[in-house]
């Protein structure tokens, strides 16, 4: 199955990259940009039946740094045959 992990900085943690991109968008003349936050997408192919607990464990042990980041897990369904 395909799983997509979205890792984001926790609310309240300053995001210097997001801020720089925010300024850049304004510099290009886009109006109404109120905030920009940058995260990371990790897509994995996992054996069907991999448990939710195991995926959580992967996120907490490596994919996200729980001091500064939150994560969410999105299951994209069974792997299509190649």
């Amino acid at each position: 199955m395909k799983v997509r992990i979205l890792v984001r900085l926790k609310p309240g943690v300053l995001d210097p990259q997001g801020r720089a991109v925010h300024h850049s968008l304004e510099g290009l003349g886009f109006e109404g940009v109120e905030d920009v936050r940058i995260g990371r997408v990790i897509e994995m192919d996992l054996a069907d039946g991999t448990s939710d607990a195991a995926i959580d464990d992967m996120c907490q042990k490596l994919l996200a740094n729980m001091v500064i980041e939150d994560y969410s897990i999105e299951k994209l369904g069974q792997t299509e045959p190649a």
Binding site: V13, L14, P16, Q17, K61, L62, L63, V67, I68
Partner: protein, 225 residues
């Protein structure tokens, strides 16, 4: 006296040789060199150094991959047993990712890679690593990093400040670090992580010899122990 030290090399470490040279120049004994893929440390170590660099190309997060490499289990065990451990720059990032130190090192607030000599204040000189400095002394040590912006929650910051675990502070703003923190200790005081590079400041010809006292402090603590 022989000083039995080890310098860990990760793929992408680039200050390991400087660290080894600094340890040898100050202690008189060349440190052992340990590869990250080893799963055991040499016996009877007096000191472990995690050097600077860009381990694993900073993939995922700075220090994240290295902190999960085989040797780190042994480093964590040694740290818990009281062996002095110094992590410099990428080594500091590895120590936070390994959970030996609180907080995280984020991208510098100004986005720029910062490479210059910084004035630092020795906040606590009652530590294994700083006893050869005066309390409140200003020292000059180079920094060279992109991800040195120390972050921890306010409660954590209050706690480590209250416990004297902020060993070094930037004497002027550097990279956006909370409370200008440059180096912190673990709760038992035998693990120090710092972004500035003391190993690059051990001789006047390098621009500063202020880093020398850091190694002298560790060596001195063993003699007096």
């Amino acid at each position: 006296m022989s000083f039995r030290a080890a310098v860990i090399t990760f793929p992408g470490s680039n200050c390991d040789r400087d660290m080894a040279v600094a340890i040898e120049k100050v202690s008189g004994t060349a440190p052992l060199r340990v590869w990250h893929g080893d799963d055991a440390l040499p016996q009877g170590l007096d000191f472990i150094a995690l050097p600077g660099g860009f381990s694993y190309g900073d993939y995922l997060r700075s220090g994240a991959m290295a902190s999960r490499s085989p040797i780190m289990k042994a480093v964590v065990k040694a740290a818990e047993a009281g062996v002095p451990v110094l992590g410099v720059c990428n080594g500091f990032q590895v120590l936070t990712e390994a959970g030996l130190l609180p907080g995280a090192l984020m991208r510098n607030a100004g986005q720029n890679f910062i490479c210059r000599t910084m004035p630092l204040t020795v906040e606590n000189n009652q530590t294994l690593f700083t006893s050869a400095y005066e309390a409140g002394e200003t020292i000059h040590i180079p920094v060279a990093h992109h991800d040195g912006n120390f972050f921890a929650e306010e409660a954590t910051l209050d706690r480590i400040e209250g416990d004297g675990r902020v060993a070094l502070r930037y004497a002027e703003p550097c990279n956006g670090s909370r409370r200008d923190i440059a180096g912190i200790l673990n709760a038992s005081g035998n693990v120090l992580g710092m972004m500035p590079h003391p190993e690059r400041a051990i001789e006047d010809v390098l621009g500063s010899s202020d880093g020398r006292h850091m190694f002298e402090s560790v060596i001195g603590s063993l003699v007096s122990a």
